[in-house]
Symmetry: C2
Subunit: 655 residues, 2 copies
């Protein structure tokens, strides 16, 4: 207990308005606009509980159309079609919209992100002219029909086929097997009039891989068109305001011009042309243009975590758990308990960390897609970063929402207190736009192969063979572990080997060195295990199966390092003063709680002594106590409109 | 990779029928009866998604009444009133019922466990004669009105008051403050005609603490009686077939005989009598009789985990994630991937562990309440064990259901595949019958004070002062750490200090020694920190706040040790043969994955070297691979009726 009475660092204070401005960053305007827009739709949160399913779906559609009217959700489209011409603002708007009902958010994502994004990114002028104005205004609702029942993560193997018939200049679209039915398609069960359908393109008896076509699904009255069969996916865990469904095609004919032909085309006489020679490369180039979806889902995950933390922290500040009657315990609030701080505050710090990581990512996205950064490497890194950050942000949401709900006791179980919907609606975030484990596997593959192949190409055996084919020296060079070890030593007092000291625990260089060491060591280790397995004659599938979790943990460490860097850079860029102090403390708490969570690994690899590991744990508790007095301000700075918090049981009727 | 090619242990095989019989144990008959009963009610699972709330509540009530007719849910009541006279069988029936819809289960729990249990345990013959037959048959539906809006965990401070009026021989029941409204009371919003109401008893101007009375709430037509006000808690995250509500009393008069007077009574002229002098002790004696509820909720949590694992493991065995087209990868199923095994199989092992722990607990409960074991110490240990096991079993449910849902991808999100309801319905298990953290705190308090005070009395400051008042030697003696260290050495090869070796990793004595060391070290450490804090002049509230997580982690380690002991003893008691081999592997996997999860702590405390820690991780992976070929049989042995699995998308239409 001696260390609990050492000299105290300065008290923290927070100017909420200033912190909100800092969090809002360069897109403060659109964020404010959406925050002002949302309270009018607070009643949707209640409708989600009370309305019959189809009625609620229509209600959500109506809200989406009303929001579309304000222009707030079309920021990413070219201004000549009625958009805002600012992709970064588009992400900021979507992120903020996630404070409200998440069926509304996902319906917006389906219409403007997936459907609209595919038309914009995969189509050419003829498609833009034909569809963009109408889809931006909401006059034309559409869906994005990629996933199939039997092909979730491996979309390159889709079973829907589009065959070109030169005699009529048409494509004929057919669902070839039961596994090839489109599934979980948002907007399909009720509202979409057209779909962007991904299918294997066959021209003149030759397959050219997966391409996207615009296919009408319903007429103006909403009746399903001939040759199309649609089935409702039915009740879901959450997001029941979104009408997910299954679609089957039986010889549906669309004109040649329906092909979204930015990257490949078919001439009238049936000649297939593309500037990208490899069918795989072509497909992954197409997929790459849709990276915005992953950035958006991750951003939404962070917003959901913010809503949950706002409620739980505020509750912890008003609720007295035990009115002990004792003179010194009577005023104790829930958040005064060490354990309660432990449950909420490291999660609050991680939410801040991922907020800044998402901001960096959104800026990268903006730069790449607005042509500010144009090279191929930047694109690959963006795709990798988007995939990895999406995984961490959506797992954050699942974890934070659950812990906050438990931290509010039985009241947290009542729907009026928001956790029910937050939990149910965000649950699928870990799966959609790519299963998180699969995404991290992609990131890991990129790290191991130096992005030698296309990003989304999850060819595990190819990866194993690639790594196995490297020279021993190359594999060893993959890891800069020794250099990094030096870096860790340098940031320790006197560059010494004294791992037992407490000093330097709050030095960001120490945190970064630890994160980098972990990342590089895992990448190197995974590479060596892959190579060794193949060299020993094991078959590549078996080798991959055994090393898979190592690959994924390397990717996880990589992304977490990027997250920490974003946070450290943000702190460094903040002017000296109160805000910098508090951000610093949050950043320390984030970094140390990650090190604490992985302490076994660091000890196994000689980078943390038993004594220092205990010191990390004490420091985490100290940081929690230090942040406790400003915890309320730290969640208020998220600026979740009070109308959206609901929670009369938790926050009082005047919440 | 060298260790991945060492001599393989024998292949495992499972006779499903034999394993089911072993899991069923001595109450196989009632388990089978309930399993045969459940398929008829499989449609309730669908009704939960489609029916309007009140209609679904009535449907659930009707199902509960039908099941009551079979006698399967009244096993715990005396046979003279129509019960089965077998408490152990009652728990087994409840546990099995948890394979089905959980609103039905919880409604059964409210009626027969909470309401019926209170009448049985707190009442005397006059109450038994008046109510038991009717409540067992379901002719009289009731509720258990303890929790208040402002008093969740601290029920000793309830604000409802029952004042005795000798002139009319009546109690007058009043809700004194807004915080004192009864809340989250199951059966209250719609179906209960009477309630067992907990209130502060006042007789002749003197308070005697919390007692329970039977209070009519509705007339035969269901109209709420004068003086009673009831409000619906509204929509909840799950369990919407249970009508939770709030109740306020405004001078409601009940006759003197309404007092459940097993432990205290009031004479007609207004004299309060009780064999238990201390009001606190009296209240906690009453609470102690209700321990069955915690045993039941824990059992239900394990059952929910079994359902989730059955679906996810079966899915992992049929689903091919990537049809790579490569000669050696084409047949790879999801569960062949190392990471997928890692996600599901340690959780399967833990589910087995908690199954056996719940069986031991249910047997203890049966023995104590049937008078087979009668002493006070056995009661206290039972209460502690029930509280702790409830926490671990319900967290197991939350964790397993979530991981299984994610392991089934997007399909896991569709309600038809069961995870939606499993997740939403079980979520509150961590809170009800006592918040898990509060329960572990109670367990910790018992460990630290050698059960010197009443079990449920969560007087934190009293605990701090108790421990602080112990002599230094006593505090040090609390921990047998040094002895345990010797034990660990003894089970290592040659009793050596060679922590680096892999040997002994699969020795149950090694596992037990590690678990015991962790427990004792944490108890001792918490005691020393409490004492040191007070000795240093810190106020007890602050001391407690800082040591709280240590106390809780000690309790957690304690309960986990009990769980491991149950499992090890079960394995030891099993005849040599196939079943013993497979149970042994599961037990090893459970023990080693717990050690792995706490590896940082073991390393910090010098009980695990870096090398051995890595060996533990490798062994966990090896055990997963070894169990993979029998994973399907291991879940089939849970014998969840196939009609209840639903999941046509995951398991195929013939599931």
């Amino acid at each position: 207990m001696a260390d609990e009475t050492t000299t105290a660092p300065p008290d923290l204070a927070v100017d909420v308005t200033a912190l909100t401005a800092l969090l809002d960053g360069q897109h403060a305007d659109i964020r404010r606009t959406v925050r002002e827009l949302l309270p009018a739709y607070a009643s949707v949160l209640e409708d989600a509980e009370t309305m019959p399913r189809d009625e609620f779906r229509d209600r959500v559609r109506d809200v989406v159309l009303e929001i579309a009217d304000t222009g707030a959700v079309a920021m990413g489209f070219p201004s000549e079609y009625g958009g805002g011409g600012d992709l970064g603002a588009s992400i900021a708007a979507f992120e903020t919209l996630a404070y409200g009902d998440l069926s509304v958010l996902v319906k917006v994502g389906v219409q403007f992100g997936l459907f609209g994004g595919a038309i914009l990114q995969l189509g050419t002028d003829r498609h833009h002219d034909a569809y963009l104005s109408d889809l931006i205004s909401g006059r034309l609702l559409g869906c994005f029909a990629m996933t199939e029942t039997g092909h979730g993560s491996n979309v390159q193997a889709l079973g829907t086929v589009a065959t070109y018939h030169p005699e009529t200049s048409e494509f004929v679209i057919t669902t070839t097997t039961p596994d090839a039915g489109k599934d979980y398609i948002g907007n399909a069960a009720r509202h979409a009039r057209v779909g962007v359908v991904f299918a294997q393109l066959e021209v003149g008896g030759e397959g050219h891989g997966v391409h996207a076509l615009v296919v009408p699904l319903r007429d103006e009255q909403g009746a399903v068109l001939p040759g199309v069969r649609i089935e409702d996916d039915g009740h879901k865990m959450g997001l029941n305001g979104v009408d997910n469904g299954r679609i089957w095609f039986d010889g549906v004919r669309v004109p040649r011009e329906a092909l979204l032909n930015r990257f490949a085309d078919v001439t009238e006489d049936g000649t297939y042309t593309s500037d990208i020679e490899s069918p795989g490369r072509r497909f992954f180039t197409m997929l790459g243009t849709l990276v915005q979806g992953r950035v958006s889902v991750g951003a939404a995950g962070v917003s959901a975590a913010k809503v949950a933390l706002t409620i739980a922290v505020r509750y912890g500040l008003v609720r007295r758990q035990f009115d002990t009657g004792a003179e010194d315990g009577a005023e104790q609030r829930l958040l005064d308990y060490g354990l309660h701080q432990r449950r909420l505050l490291p999660r609050l710090a991680r939410t801040y960390a991922l907020h800044f990581a998402q901001q960096v990512l959104a800026a990268d996205l903006h730069d790449v897609f607005s042509g500010i950064t144009a090279d191929e490497d930047a694109r690959r890194l963006l795709e990798s970063r988007a995939a990895g950050t999406k995984a961490l942000s959506t797992w954050l949401a699942t974890d934070v929402v659950q812990e906050c709900r438990e931290a509010c006791g039985g009241a947290g179980y009542l729907s009026v207190n928001r956790f029910a919907a937050l939990k149910a609606d965000t649950d699928v975030f870990t799966t959609f736009e790519g299963d998180n484990h699969v995404l991290l596997q992609l990131v890991g593959k990129g790290l191991l192969t130096d992005y030698a192949s296309d990003f989304s190409d999850l060819d595990q055996l190819g990866m194993v063979r690639f790594v196995a084919g490297l020279a021993v020296e190359t594999v060893l060079e993959r890891t800069r572990v020794h250099q990094l070890l030096e870096q860790i030593r340098e940031v320790l007092p006197g560059g010494s080997d004294d791992w037992d000291t407490d000093s330097g625990l709050l030095d960001p260089d120490y945190h970064l060195a630890m994160f980098r060491f972990r990342e590089e060591h895992r990448i190197g280790g995974a590479a060596r295990r892959l190579k060794r397995g193949v060299d020993a004659g094991m078959n590549p599938g078996e080798v991959f199966s055994r090393v898979q979790d190592h690959v994924i943990s390397a990717a996880h460490a990589h992304v977490e390092r990027l997250v920490l860097e974003s946070f450290v850079e943000k702190v460094a860029a903040t002017e000296d003063g109160e805000l910098k102090l508090v951000l610093n403390a949050l950043c320390d708490l984030f970094a140390l709680s990650v090190i604490e969570a992985d302490a076994a690994w660091f000890m196994e690899h000689g980078r943390l002594s038993a004594q220092r590991s205990k010191a990390v744990t004490r420091e985490v508790a100290d940081l929690c106590r230090r942040l406790r007095p400003v915890a309320g301000e730290l969640v208020d700075a998220f600026a979740v409109p009070v109308e959206l918090l609901r929670s009369p049981d938790l926050l009082g009727p005047d919440a």
